[in-house]
Each structure stands twice: as structure tokens, then as C-alpha cells.
């Protein structure tokens, strides 16, 4: 299966001990495990088909392990974490359910399932909206304009669109490196070089803790302007300075508003246990996918529409070559 796949594991009334045991079990079996809430976990299965098997096979294996360990867990499989979690929460313990179309599954559910304030829920009820399907049918722009970005995010969740990444763990200790430069740096290349020292220091700290960085937070102090914050997801998670620096360079190349940089603070906000080169095995198929699609989107923004395309074979035996294949913009 290509594209994102999330497996959510949910244990009702999970005590702290059960939470830790289940987390340990999932960490031992799957490459990327995120904690959603006590007893609720989202695991990114993108790209693990060849190594682990199809998602339902993986899920059944996890269920069997949990049963042997005396844990009663329900599992949901869906394209995005939110739908997978909603599915797992509504599945009896010891069972698994999978959906491929998140929006259709969410439609009949009550609005309570969405992360919305009581006040907003009240307003939506006054508007006659009862189910997630009713809410999802509202125009996106109107929701954003009327309720703001937080409700717009919930609206995207309701449409089964919000493919938020699985959040990993915070590092065991704070990993933050600061640099101050005497002369302001105006060139991007110069800045990338100046960041090398900080990145090397981060690499050493990651290595000492045996973890790999999944998310970096770079704050650039600018002369006469407010600080610039750049958040970067590293896929696959890495601790090598070359990989971290490459990702930062890529982020900086997208910015035209760097200004005069006088200092920086580079922190690691999410980490995963370092798994050596094995992480590359998982990354090969799925995790790099997101990076490739991000590159395609960047190129589309730079080169315009109709340039960055993906072909699809419509009819390999078509007499006319133009009917044999179809072309579509690369969006995901």
C-alpha cells in the first residue's frame, strides 16, 4: 500500500503501568510510534509493507502479542491518525477494524468526536449541525473565516484530510544549542555553513542519548526584525549532522525573508530511538515519500502548474498513444 497508513492502538482505562507496557510493546514491533493520549497510540505504517506485511497482518500480530501479555487492546487502521484513533475507540477490545475512506467513516459520528470547544459545539448545534458529516459539508473558507484556524483544523479532520504526522516522544533531556555571531549573516550559504557547528553539537547530544531527531526547531535571531522560526521534520529520523543540515538547508532555501541573522537557537523537539541503518529500511518506501512530495510541491510552486506531473496508465493497449496514459499534478 502506498501513501500514509496509520494504525491506532487503544486500551480503555489504561493505568500508567499498562500505558508503559503497551508503548514498549509497540516500540519493539513498529518503526514509528506516537503517543496520542494515555493508552492511545498512533503508529505510522507507511512503507513497512515489504518488511512487516500488510497493515491488517501487522495489526493481528500486535493484537496477539497484547493478548499474550494480558492487555486488551482495540486497533483501528485508517489513512490518518485521527480517523484511526476514532475507529480504535469504537472497536471492541481484542478486535481490529480498518477503513480506507476516513471521511465516509466519520460522517455519521457525533460532533463530540472532534476536538472542539464546548462553545463552538454549542454554536454548531444552533446552526443545526449534529454529525461530523454535516460539519464537513460546510465550505472550508467559511469555517475558517467564522471560527478561526483551530476549528478549521477540526474541519479538516472531519473531512478525513488532516494527515498530521504521528507525534513522537520529546527528547529525554533538552537538546538546544545556541549561537551568536559578531557580524550579521546575510547570505544563505554563509548561514548554512555557520549552522554546521550547532548541528554537529546537536548530533553529539543525540548520539549520547541514543536517539534520532524527528523534528527540529530553528529560531533565527534577526537584526531589527522579529525572530524567524523554522520547524522541520526529518524523515527518516536521523542524527547525522549531514542529514540534519541538509534538511535545514532545504528549509532555508524556501525562505526569502531571512534578513540579517545575528544568532540562532537550534533545538530538537521530537526524537525516536535510533535504530541505525534499519530506519533506512523503513524509510525507503514510505517516510521518504513525504519528502519527495514536498519537493514536488516546491517545484510546482517554482515552475507553475502543468510541469510537475505523475503519469497513470489508463489503457496500455490503446491505439492512440495519448489515450494510453493520463497525467496528473503531483499533490500527494
Amino acid at each position: 500500500m502506498s501513501g500514509p497508513v496509520t494504525l491506532a492502538a487503544f486500551a480503555r482505562d489504561a493505568a500508567a503501568q499498562l500505558h508503559e507496557r503497551l508503548l514498549g510493546l509497540l516500540h519493539g514491533a513498529l518503526p514509528r510510534v506516537g503517543v496520542l493520549a494515555p493508552g492511545a497510540f498512533a503508529c505510522d505504517l507507511a512503507g513497512t509493507d515489504r518488511l512487516l506485511g500488510a497493515p491488517p497482518v501487522v495489526a493481528r500480530r500486535i493484537l496477539a502479542r497484547c493478548e499474550r501479555a494480558g492487555m486488551h487492546v482495540s486497533i483501528g487502521i485508517a489513512p490518518v491518525p485521527f480517523v484511526a484513533r476514532a475507529l480504535a475507540e469504537r472497536t471492541p477490545p481484542g478486535e481490529l477494524r480498518a477503513v480506507s475512506d476516513g471521511r465516509t467513516y466519520l460522517e455519521p459520528l457525533s460532533l463530540d468526536a472532534l476536538p472542539l470547544d464546548e462553545k463552538v459545539l454549542g454554536e454548531l448545534e444552533l446552526l443545526g449541525l449534529r454529525t461530523i458529516g454535516d460539519f464537513a459539508a460546510l465550505p472550508r473558507g467559511a469555517v475558517f473565516e467564522r471560527f478561526g484556524s483551530a476549528v478549521a483544523r477540526a474541519h479538516a479532520l472531519a473531512r478525513g484530510e488532516y494527515g498530521d504526522l504521528v507525534r513522537a516522544d520529546a527528547p529525554p533531556r533538552r537538546i538546544l544549542v545556541r549561537r551568536v555571531w559578531d557580524d550579521a549573516i546575510a547570505s544563505r550559504e554563509q548561514l548554512v555553513f555557520a549552522l554546521r557547528g550547532a548541528v554537529d553539537e546537536v548530533e553529539a547530544m543525540l548520539a549520547a542519548d541514543g536517539v534520532a531527531a524527528l523534528r527540529l526547531d530553528l529560531r533565527l535571531v534577526r537584526d531589527g526584525e522579529p525572530p524567524l522560526r523554522i520547524e522541520r521534520t526529518i524523515l527518516p529520523p536521523a542524527r547525522e549532522s549531514a542529514a540534519l543540515l541538509r534538511s535545514l538547508r532545504w528549509a532555508l532555501e524556501e525562505r526569502d525573508d531571512l534578513g540579517q541573522i545575528t544568532g540562532c537557537a537550534l533545538g530538537v523537539v521530537e526524537v525516536e530511538p535510533a535504530r541505525g541503518r534499519q530506519i533506512g529500511l523503513f524509510a525507503a518506501d514510505g517516510a521518504r515519500w513525504e519528502e519527495a512530495i514536498a519537493t514536488a510541491r516546491y517545484l510546482r510552486a517554482k515552475l507553475g502548474a502543468g510541469v510537475v506531473l505523475r503519469p497513470r496508465i489508463a489503457d496500455a493497449d490503446a491505439r492512440l498513444p495519448e489515450r494510453a496514459a493520463e497525467w496528473a499534478e503531483v499533490t500527494r
Binding site: 555571531w181 550559504e189 548554512v192 549532522s241 518506501d285 517545484l299 517554482k302 510541469v307 510537475v308 503519469p311
Partner: protein, 245 residues
Amino acid sequence: MGATGLAKAMARIEGRYGAHALARGAAAERHRGELVLATDSSLDAVTEGGLAAGEPLAFVGPASVGKVSLALRVAAAAQRTGGMVAWIDPSASFDPVAAARAGVECERLVVVRARSAADAALATSATLRSEGFRLTVVDTGPSFAGIGIDDLASVLPSVRGSPAALLIVGEERGRRVAIPTCTFERVSWERRFERTVGWTFEVGRFGGPWGQRPLDARALFAIPSLGAATHDLGTRGELAAMAVS
């Protein structure tokens, strides 16, 4: 002052010679063995085991000789390792059906129809710097398309340190840039019932240690008919050994 001065000097060097011109001693360099795209064909004998990440290679030869067919094989090999492939296609001549026939998965392929040499260079550089691709193929198209290997000189420094290999397909070798090159030559035509239905071509390594072109570094392929898959006939050395035995 020391650190800033050094930063400026290094930035000047990188600005002149490319982003990857310098590497710290402690920087994790990629090893050649870490990622080699082997096609499991005689092409591997010509390319010393296959295309490696962080290295460029050019397929050069006359039009319609079989360069793109073998480039598609390399793309399929890159996808077999689990990666995605970027195909920069300024002449908009990419044929998805031929690609699928060569084993390329269209789902894991991004085709960039760059409209100019500058756009092609930008797309090549972006895909090489991304962590998302295993192979970037630049098909410069026919010589009259106006894009040549020389137009990609600016992106070559980006290859080193990239997780992707760069394969450039063109009709003529670059005059200003020197990169490892495989030359394609048509050897014979395949004729049936007085009609030409296919051809055989030879792939050899140009220059470098292969200057003398030993028999094992020259591979023969056949395209038995239009639209058919490329047949691997083996290296000249293998064929010579078979002939002797």
C-alpha cells in the same frame, strides 16, 4: 572574528564550487556500498556494479539507440530499492507505457516537464538535494531541443552528498563538463522478411580507466521489435568466451 571569517571564506568556496564542495571531517559521508542501483544486467559490468548515490553518470549516443530504455531499467532498479524517481523531461517525450513495460511504477515517479534549461537545472538540483529521491534522470531529449549536458554544469556539485544518483541522457557529451559517461552505439539492424524490425546496440564506458574499453566493459543489448522490452545479450567478454567454448 575567526569563526565569522572562516564562515565567509567557506561560503565563498561553496558559492563558487557548489554546496557540497566542502565537508567536515566528522561529517557522515555516504559510502558507495550504501546505495548502489544495480540493474541485474550487463549494464552493471559497464558501470562498475551500478549507479551509486551521490555520483553522476551520462548515457550518450545517437537518437533512438536505446538510451532511454536502459535509463528506464535503472529507474526500475531504483524503485526496487524502495525509492522514488524524478524524471526531468524538458522535451516532454516521456512515455509512461514504455516505462511501465520496463518495470517502472508510475506511482513512485515524478515527471518534471521543465520548459527551459534553467528550469531543468532547478528541478535537478531540488530533487538531488531532497531526501526523497533515489534517482534523478535528466533526459535532455534530441539535440535540437536546445538543452545539453553542459546546461547542467551548475547542478553537478549537488550530486556529491546527495542520497540520489544522477543519470543524464543526451545525444552529445558535454564540452565543458566531464562526467563518467556510457556511450551507446548501434551495432546492427534486426531484419525479418526484408523488413527492419529492431536493432542491437552496444554500451561502453567512455574514458577513464576504461579508455581501452576491455571486452568486459562493453555490453550488448537488443531491441527485437518496436515496443518490445530490451534484451540483455551479455558483455562482449561473455560472448567471446561462449564463442570459444
